[in-house]
Symmetry: C3
Subunit: 155 residues, 3 copies
């Protein structure tokens, strides 16, 4: 069996692995938040889930939408839309032998921006808090894409 | 050109590649399932698609929603929300030189849980079938995240 | 620190990195398109965003849905549903020592198909333009999955 210590001794890749595992775990937390609001507010999307709201004839009345649940779902979808390109571009960037401190700055800014975005979306904080958090994360990903294409373009 | 056999001779990475290709193909099947229900039930989201429901003035009446189509779409979105963190964390975990049999156990459990989740969502099976399938997949991803951060944390 | 030039001198991987960075950047553009239509048409999903539509008591009237905004959001979600399996399968495929010109053909076809899909969705073009673009991208991903499993199956 091959020893992969070579890859895992690469500091930029290890930093990417650590920060990205945290940002993906944060995204997974949104599923828990959705379930929490669905159960405490008795708001379900499927008839078979309504028994969690209470038994009996009227259980179907829990088949409805709710502002808070929809808000968490929008925050979750926004995470997906932004963390997927961050992960793809960041993985390739971290393997392209970037400057270590520049790379870590990118990963830290993205993690902070996405955590702040979630807080600003769920409380909610007044705008432009959420827009700015979104733009910081977006800019980090574009910056990594630009650096990657500048140094490694192969079409 | 460089020989990548080193990476592809790593058994944990090869196992991850095989199981993950299957789980991603399963997710792609959800697009086919959505199209199938849209065409057989004549339920479309875009005016330009309505001609698949039949010609003529009344084609616009197919611009509607349908319980079964929405169910498939929710199952698809749930796949995305869970397979994205599994892929990201699992890829990094499989590169971190994990114990082979532990790693394969994680990949197998996740694949089984997501297939069962889809079956439970589409039939549908009564709860808590779907919740349990979700929790198994969720737990597998968290377990890989924990193992990765424990052995390789670099912040 | 380890030298990663080995990986980045692999031509199939470099080609994957370049094409995928472009396709992920294209997906990120969908966020901008959504914001553009939300701001110009004054259509918002959150009460705290309505001040971008204008001040005053009536700002809440901008809390509504709009055909064009929903169209862009569907195109964005379709991107996510298709680019996530492409990225996962394509990354593993590009690391499996594929034939270089075959690999580049796959990446080019996928990039072209997704750009055409977005154009066909947003204008919109009459069907079957969008369906064909979807099927080309879908076929490329399945073809990579098939080649990967054929050469590297390890269960």
């Amino acid at each position: 069996m091959v020893d992969l210590t070579q890859l895992m001794e690469n500091e930029a890749f290890m930093a990417f692995a650590s920060y990205t595992t945290i940002v993906l775990s944060k995204m997974m937390f949104m599923s828990i938040a959705t379930s929490f609001y669905r159960l405490t507010r008795k708001v379900f999307a499927n008839p078979e889930d309504c028994s969690y709201g209470g038994k009996g004839e009227n259980a179907k009345k829990y088949l409805r939408t709710d502002d808070k649940v929809e808000r968490v779902r929008r925050a979750h979808l926004n995470d997906l839309e932004n963390i997927v390109p961050y992960f793809g571009i960041g993985l390739l960037y971290s393997l392209s032998d970037p400057d270590l401190s520049t790379a870590i700055l990118h990963f830290r800014l993205f993690l902070g921006a996405r955590i702040y975005h979630t807080v600003a979306y769920l409380l909610p904080l007044p705008q432009p808090n959420r827009v700015l958090a979104f733009l910081v994360g977006y800019g980090v990903t574009l910056s990594m894409a630009f650096r990657l294409l500048k140094s490694r373009l192969y079409l």
